[in-house]
Symmetry: C3
Subunit: 308 residues, 3 copies
């Protein structure tokens, strides 16, 4: 089974393979499954970017998308995620993409669900396709990860992006710096060194900003948006001190003038919208992997028919 739950579970070879496939899709590579395939996107949390990006990737691969509306689903009647997915599987869905508010929701599904699950974000856990698009964007810029310094700045503690990226970047040979208000440091994440934001911005090849998940968070620290921006955000002043070749990333949606000055969002250094473009290609690669895994997996097909 070719689930994708976290990048930590993939080898460097597998990650590289996905990035290469994505780059090929970007260059116009055409691939379609050999038979009609059906997918469903189960989003239990709001999302524009990730949801629409998967929808686009699915259509570009010629997959049929079965609409699933979490608000109108039987989950409202108390159905478990397991039963919902088994239902979709029975109906003929070949793969599911899931975003869910529960950390590691997939652990209980790992061995019991026989169609591939692609994790599109779990609680404060992981977001592997976001990491892949970050990696792709960095690789397009620098050709390598080895020797790069990546500064991840903001709410490290509550960010699935920080969690996913720090581990994989370290594994790929990059050096990770964290910068965050005291309250948002994540002691459990061993893959970065905490430094002051000014140092982080000056040292980094990649300045990766995180979204403040809830505006209340800044307020809880007793800071207005303006104060937060000045102390912990990417101001125009700070951006001027970035290295000549370094770039800005942000998983978006951006809180303009909070974690980043509005004018920098579409500045020359920013790759924020390019990240979104890349998101479609990495998701095409991930879906292709899921479908190819499924098609090779003759066992699964047989097992299922025995039940009938």
């Amino acid at each position: 089974m070719t689930h994708l739950f976290t990048l930590s579970e993939l080898s460097v070879t597998e990650i590289t393979r996905l990035l290469e496939d994505a780059e090929q899709f970007r260059n116009g590579y055409f691939w379609r499954p050999s038979e009609p395939m059906f997918v469903a996107n189960l989003f239990f949390e709001p999302s524009t970017r990730t949801k629409c990006s998967f929808e686009m990737a699915e259509r570009k691969l010629g997959l049929h998308v079965i609409p699933f509306d979490a608000d109108m689903s039987s989950v409202q009647k108390g159905e478990t995620l397991y039963d919902t997915i088994r239902t979709l599987e029975s109906i003929g869905v070949n793969a599911v993409v899931i975003r869910h508010w529960e950390d590691a929701y997939f652990e209980s599904l790992r061995h019991s669900i026989r169609i591939p699950i692609i994790n599109a974000g779990d609680g404060c856990g992981h977001h592997p396709t976001q990491s892949l698009l970050d990696l792709l964007t960095i690789r397009q810029e620098f050709g390598t990860f080895s020797g790069l310094t990546v500064a991840i700045i903001g709410d490290i503690r509550h960010s699935r992006v920080a969690r996913s990226n720090a581990e994989v970047l370290t594994r790929l040979g990059a050096k990770v710096l964290f910068s965050s208000p005291e309250a948002w440091k994540d002691e459990a994440n061993p893959y970065g060194m905490y430094v002051d934001i000014d140092k982080a911005v000056e040292a980094a090849d990649v300045v990766m900003l995180l979204r403040i998940q809830h505006e209340r968070h800044a307020e809880k620290m007793g800071l207005t948006k303006e104060q937060y921006h000045k102390r912990y955000g990417l101001t125009v002043e700070r951006a001027k001190r970035m290295k000549r070749t370094s770039v800005i990333l942000h998983p978006a949606p951006v809180n303009r003038d909070v974690e980043i000055e509005s004018s920098l969002v579409e500045s020359e250094r920013s790759r924020i919208f390019k990240q979104m473009e890349n998101g479609v290609y990495v998701r095409m690669a991930v879906l292709k992997r899921a479908i190819e895994g499924r098609m090779k997996n003759g066992d699964y097909i047989k097992k299922w028919h025995v039940v009938q």
Copy 2:
């Protein structure tokens, strides 16, 4: 016009024809309408199974699906169901699938709407495609209905499944047993004999459990879930006393450990997920019937053009 409101309105010949078509679809039969066809699924109540099953069936027949979101529709502005459907008809929708919380919502539409309506569940009324998939699953198991004993167990009173199935099973030659707490007996349904759950389970070829619609219902009787399960549910103990060849059905979503012990849901005797698979095929058959009826119906096409 080939509406499908209730199975009671169909002859045994028509029902058999639908089951045969569904079986053919299951065996890979390929059928497509001769011209592009558009359908809309109007779900005014939560549903995963039925909604997704129709969406799958529609795509497998190559139909175009016009998304309809009840929450975002003009129904919110007080538009009647009649006007909503007439609107969709004007826009070019060729058939509609409707789930609605009102019993027999379709009565007022029967003679006024000129595109086929497929009832996907009305209030506490009927659910014909659910019945058809139950019938298909039973027929696959036993080859016939004649002489079978089917036990329908649970909330008989509030169940559209019980209502639809008891009548049609009786008509097809099966014997129907009901088993239910006193409060959920349905005096208005003459097609089954009430017996104790232990008797029902032991006598039945098909043990058809119903979903407790609202958990409050059990609580109202002064029973905890555990107590309900023990007195009225399919426990492992009871399942052991089933006949050697008998099977378990449930329309789902299942309240695990309430109406049925969790471990039985995917046991060897269970056909619960197979029912869901069959759901797609019976819906393909029902959609084919609707579309073929529409295409033969030259009168309708002409009348409509006159209005222009």
Copy 3:
């Protein structure tokens, strides 16, 4: 860039061209873009007619539709409309259709968004595709606009239909009469002359009724529905005094027995459901214009690639 924000921005030639394209689509004209195209429908207000009509038009042109659910989007996280559209653009969406509750929401997007935006209604502002379908329906009836008298009746003040239609009808050579309760007169709209409803109905070739947006509105004037209907609505009595060849239009959804007597909605004079049919064809024409504009616009394509 071929945005469509208001009809006021289009020349008579452009409007005529759109109507002719729409008429051709009605007559079965087949047009498809030369490469796969993706659109998204961003509806921030409830709608059945307009939303479903666009969905149908898009499918008839073979466009791929990326589902966008405003309730589940990052707009919920405070994302601006600009950032949402730029996101969709980055993901590969080629055109967006937008309904939004804010008047002239598009002004801030006019020069900053590089994919075509089609306005599907803005606050109390404009609704150009509704106007176009009204124009198409009138043209089919009378062959011309010149010399026609069009009475627009009801809540002139809060109606985007009144605003869009009065200007364009005047420009096309028709005479516009307004009729409305005192409180709903719109001093800012110079394109019609206020007359009593009885006069309006008797003089008009086209009786165009408006929807009472909020039932509270009538109540605020101290009128029951019945009283409103009698004083300001199209009663059967009034309809009898219409000219022999004149027709009834209404943008729908209709409040039956408020602005129009229920039995008149599908009477011989009514073109209300024909308007809905025409809606699909004008939207096909508008989408074709947007896509053709985009495809000619080499600059845009290039500019975008430079950013990469």
